[in-house]
Symmetry: D3
Subunit: 333 residues, 6 copies
């Protein structure tokens, strides 16, 4: 039986200031590699799923280095293409209290942005796959990336593979001549599992909701995208840059399920937390009932806030312990 | 038209332990340079004012290094005198929770402490100046420093320049044969803008107030120093070393204005926050109505608590965003 | 008059990840040395007591290095034996928020675990001693360690020396063929001062209590161990890994005394906080009335949570300031 | 056709002092993982060979972490057994000039030392293998390790697989009741490729040679071990701890081949240089004539002296460039 | 009298691995900013010249940060344009012994590469200038950069300003549709002072010389470019990556002058050493006779090899001391 | 029998730049504590002598911290006085190749400089002493320091204690109204063992010698100071800042003894190497014949060049190994 998750997207080098230094104070940067779809791949693989990550990286020391964590986590990298000129970068200044974190993207003209359709034989890539995952960052990168993403989604659809997506709205991408709504509508209409978000839905689809619950939004999405079987939303209440409240909802077309709300303070690293939710949700949906899947994903992503880097380095056991209610953070010795 | 702020005071090398290490654990010190009046100068310059800093530093690598941030921020350094033997130092152990931070000053016999009157031609220095700023640290350093400070203030007064002051009471300075009250009374009586403080007013002028509002204090100060046009006070409630509440008041001779109260937790670096208030207030008083000036200064100094070092590395846009009520510390990407 | 505290136990090298990194992310470890009974010795010595630490370390650079902090704090090390093959180690991953800290012990076959009875002449070692201290970690290490611990306790008892103990239950030690209850009952029954704990009492002695106060537990212990004159318990409420509430009780056979409850957030390093309580309690019981002794110990151990490493680097003055109610963590300058 | 290299041995955590600090000065340790046979595996894999590493590590975060570099370098880890209690450690103090480096092993009772025969099905493990590699460290670790090593060698011999060995004499291992000569004679007599050394041959086999060339030694070894087809020796002349001369010889039963002698100064990290020679030699013997194989191995291991850690992070192109005579270390930009 | 040096070129962020780590080992990068023409500007300014640097940087935190060292060194930055999207980057892996350093450029599509002619009013920019400096990197970056460079050179020529150039051949730039020889011939033909190099002359102009002295090359250049008054060449003999010999020649159309040859070992940072020679030569030619100018430039650039970063942080006094023959590196205390 | 070495002098905090950074580049300083006479004390104690260090330090965290290494090395600190206001400091920039290291002293007005005669009861301090050691730094610090040093020397002389001295000429001390020659002549005339130096002898006593051997200097010193029994000189040939040759001579009134000459490259830390020679010489003179004593001291101080900090962290065994001719710096494992 086919049991592989395949994710497709860009992996970047992240350069972050030490502690809470501002960019203007930085005499060193800490280096990790990550990207939404790679983060999802690693999370799911760490929980025990069979996963492949598909991407384009340059044939340089940095292209190679970007794959290290995937390999350590047993994510398949055989369909990654080594082409193009540069690895995309992003710089991260970590805020505190009332000073927000700051990301400077430097990913234009990256290997991935200049992806070519002929580099991928999607029928071959997806042959053992039962779940294909993409996110809204990919079509936002470049026209070429959007096209290849669509080819992947269409092939998956044709092959009867379940398709999942994270809307991942990024306002300062989408820098090419395009109507995002068209592209995203086309892509989401073929998808079965969605990680949505109120702001993203408004930006992409013009959906505006009135009341504070997510139910109305779920219903509008279901109406607009009838193939969607599961829709999730994470709720982040930003008390300030160091202190968030975190919960999530899952909608299965009928009922809206609620998770615990976690109070997260002080945050160690919030980048990649949405991805950690997504990776855990995909695992959960294959191994649990919906409520447990939601609880597993919310707990996993809660813990990610305490972990440096883009990647959720957490075991299934640790997630289950929190999911079952032990928030004590007790020392294990 | 004359539009320059001139500040006068000592700049020091600051040596702080990493993270929350105690002095006895330190195998490295982090190094920055700062001092109350230099911090004010840099803050004001960063918001767009034309600023000059006047001081004395030794003709050594450390004297030079102490000026780097001033130069980076376009603060004029042409009237800084290179004389004397040593740059003043201070050591900082950063506390946490119920353990307070600890400062060890090592600034006796510094170049600035041994300043000489003939090194400065104040009429020339102040010729394009419309605001002169000093703080209570300067006369506390040495008899010589107090004398030169008085000469500067008297020249400014004679030239019709607005004079601002930060009381900055430091109990373990004032180590020479002097009555602080006399000196400070003389200096403040010539000043027009004051950053005061309840404890400083009691120590310097014997002013004791009854009720918890600052109004009574403002009224006593106005009576005692009729030249004062604006008086500000910052209110710091120390929940513990990591967690403060922070607000401020401004008095214009008639009304007492109140700022938002910010809850700041966890604090990254509280040194220089008063100076960041002062620098922003001087900017605000020239560009805004009083209430906005107060709000700008309170927001600017709130953000400073999240920034390592003595200096407030923050843009006008960032201050305005907080001042307008966005406390979310949302990530910008 | 004899006025020396002697403590006996193992000292370890501690290797901890930087900041909140996970073990899998560590490219460096921070190194300190510590162990429950050494920590108690240093704490008590720092407050001014005359103290000796008795142990076994290997005759290597690490055996030597483990004694540095003892020597710096004037703890006597003349009765430490240099034998055996390795210094015990423990690795520490510091958690945050809902992710608990993680300790990996690597102390089997250490020099201390292979201690031999003939290496110690307890009558000689204890000749100027008026307080002997041991903890439940020592008999848990190995059969040999348990035997030597018993010899020390029996000699102290015979010599009329007051004996103190910290139950210090560690579930993953006790890895040899033994009934912990027997050994511990024998050792505690000879002791006069005890730092207990609800979970430890249940594990060691099967004592289960109903109500939430510690009174019932104190009474059961007093009944079971009639020699006990003072019993203390620390109460740690773990909101999460970064945030604890901390208080303590002291029982003198009649009354139960309560301390202030401290809210500790964010915690810098919680390892060794129990030891810092014990060291301060032993000092307090010799210099204060019971209530003050309890308050001193609680305040001392509250501060320890803000200090990196196993050791409580704090002065009597700092403890007294907090004990007298100043929780402001005000900067001292 | 079978084309896999399989190596068998222990992998350790290495903890080294920063720069040239002594153990007594270390407040941090740098962490990498390595071991002779793992180093050989990674080197060979980096040059493009198909390689498997067989070992035992504990089922802990450190057992997992020790495999990361193998996975990054595509070395197969499927036959690594997760059993036992601890990962072996070694500490490294890096000397300079006339102060030698210092290694403290802490590897007794490691998971590997307590290896069990039944954990390995060697016929299965070696089924696609055409080269099996072991080193003299493995039988030195414990009786159990020696037995399993012998089983592997015997199976390889039976299956007609070429066997290579590195004598790797370590005086302070061999800490169990055994005659090293017997074990090593048995193992080497079944091997076809050997990395020898004058001192090791004297210690293991009592072979003493007169003249300074290695020819006599090669002849004695060939006589004693008739199965040996290729014998190599590296010649290290230690001017001091920072400065070595480095060359090698290869003997094919008839001729003795000489390499270039490299002058290496200042050395960055000499640990693992023998292993980098071995890995490159195994690659070279499969892809080149003997002289080129020797030159490739000598150049590869020369470069290793400039690379931090146990592992030779070098590409085939970089080795070939040096092997062809470009010692300039010219900047590539 | 006009006495200003103006240099024009790109400034980059440099990200270098710690110590001698390979890119694949880097978990942090050290950050500095530099670029050939900025380095020349800072060097000359540090010796006391009046200098302006002209460039294009993005209006970001990194654009600002790149100017800090210029401001600290009093280099004028008023004609730097804040436009475009990104600051160019380069990554540096520092080799050792027989492993060369490695530079990965990531500067395509930088703000500077997309420079526009209309952003600069060269007559205004050069109005107080008596020396204009450019290097062969600038026309290599992009067609636009080459055009603006030519405009600057033509304006300088028209205004009777002396023009200096560093050939600075970089093989992996010049990535646009162009014949480098044409552009460079045009630019150099208008220049008066040249820092040449044998390899660059061959690549740019096809000049091949026979004998090992530089005289023939100087004569060919003088013939080809009759405006050249002074030509210098630095001679770097690369013993290996850590050890160079360094000397230079200066030709004034008649005589060839020789410098001392310095033995430099171990090199701390060789990047920017050519620039440090050029900056010191421009200073020397204005203050000394030719032989002294050459000696000053060679000594200054010798010292640069011991200084981290692109910039030569050295005083005139330090250079003169070495230039006068004190190679002892004696401690000053 | 009396068998204690007592040394008297100032201990300082040393703040050094990381690696080879210049002061202007330093964002952190590494911190150690040292001073000539403390360094001698620790060296001698590490070899097994009974040693006391006498000094004045402030009653601050830094005064305490400065004693840590003394306590770790079992040097007695009971006669150290806690008085005065500040610990002396020095800053160290570590040069390389042709750039010399740079020391900036900041020790004026230190606790030690303001020493008072009545703080020391020298008869009591020296009661178990058989060797008193001072250096030329102490009388150079201040008039008060010179007076107390003389009192100590006179008391030692009176008590028949052997007196040793290191001339330690520091040109930028001696900043008070004094004729150094007078003071030094008086002090040296009472001393029995001297570590001299050609430059120091010229500066202090006007002794100029012709030939390159040290014999003439030894003879002049012996004539001038008839009490001198042993005179040693270390010979440092500075090839450059990274590379020295190092040897020494010892004169016993009749013969001049020569040591091996060591080639030291690359130097890790040269500060305190003279002190490491002195400490080892005092040990050697009590345990060996003169030639061996010289060889021991030269070898010990050769190794010190490879050790970070002021202190020679080396064992007797390590020194003997080098002294017996093993310069290989072979790895010990
Ligand atoms: Ca950090
Ligand atoms: Ca991401
Ligand atoms: Ca830090
Ligand atoms: Ca300040
Ligand atoms: Ca840290
Ligand atoms: Ca402990
Ligand atoms: Ca380092
Ligand atoms: Ca190895
Ligand atoms: Ca470094
Ligand atoms: Ca450059
Ligand atoms: Ca370093
Ligand atoms: Ca010294
Ligand atoms: Ni933080
Ligand atoms: Ni922090
Ligand atoms: Ni800086
Ligand atoms: Ni903190
Ligand atoms: Ni922290
Ligand atoms: Ni330490
Ligand atoms: Ni933290
Ligand atoms: Ni932190
Ligand atoms: Ni890593
Ligand atoms: Ni080194
Ligand atoms: Ni180094
Ligand atoms: Ni230390
Ligand atoms: Ni190096
Ligand atoms: Ni190095
Ligand atoms: Ni790594
Ligand atoms: Ni170095
Ligand atoms: Ni270095
Ligand atoms: Ni900097």
């Amino acid at each position: 039986m086919k049991r592989k998750l395949v994710t497709f997207g860009e992996i970047l080098m992240r350069l972050s200031c030490e502690d809470h230094l501002r960019f203007s104070q930085a005499h060193t940067f800490n280096v990790v590699y990550g990207g939404s779809e790679a983060n999802v791949a690693i999370s799911a693989s760490n929980f025990g799923m069979s996963v492949d990550f598909v991407s384009v990286v340059p044939h340089t020391d940095f292209g190679n280095a970007s794959l290290a964590e995937l390999k350590i986590s047993k994510v398949g990298t055989d369909n990654i293409v080594f082409r193009g000129k540069r690895l995309g970068l992003y710089f991260l200044e970590k805020g505190a209290v009332n000073r927000g974190s700051k990301v400077i993207y430097d990913r234009a003209n990256s290997s991935f942005a200049e992806v070519k359709s002929e580099w991928f034989d999607w029928e071959d890539i997806l042959k053992n796959c039962n779940q294909f995952h993409w996110s809204g960052i990919t079509p936002a990168i470049s026209k070429a990336a959007a096209e290849v993403c669509l080819e992947a989604v269409e092939t998956a659809e044709k092959m009867g593979i379940s398709i999942s997506a994270d809307l991942n709205y990024r306002g300062n991408l989408w820098q090419y001549d395009v109507i995002p709504e068209e592209i995203m509508t086309n892509l989401v209409s073929k998808s079965n599992v969605l990680l949505a978000g109120g702001y993203a839905c408004k930006q992409f689809f013009g959906i505006q909701t009135q009341n504070s619950s997510n139910l109305e939004l779920f219903e509008e999405l279901t109406q607009k995208f009838p193939k969607l079987e599961k829709i999730a939303i994470t709720n982040r209440i930003e008390m300030n840059a160091s202190h968030h409240k975190w919960s999530a909802n899952l909608y299965n077309g009928k009922t809206i399920l609620n998770s615990t709300e976690y109070d997260i303070f002080p945050i160690v690293d919030r980048v990649g937390t949405g991805d950690s939710f997504m990776g855990a949700l995909l695992y959960g949906l294959q191994h649990y009932e919906d409520q447990q899947a939601l609880d597993f994903a919310t707990a996993a992503s809660c813990i990610k806030h305490s972990i440096y880097g883009d990647i959720n380095r957490v075991s299934k056991e640790e997630v289950v312990k929190l999911m079952e209610g032990d928030i004590s953070g007790r020392i294990s010795r």
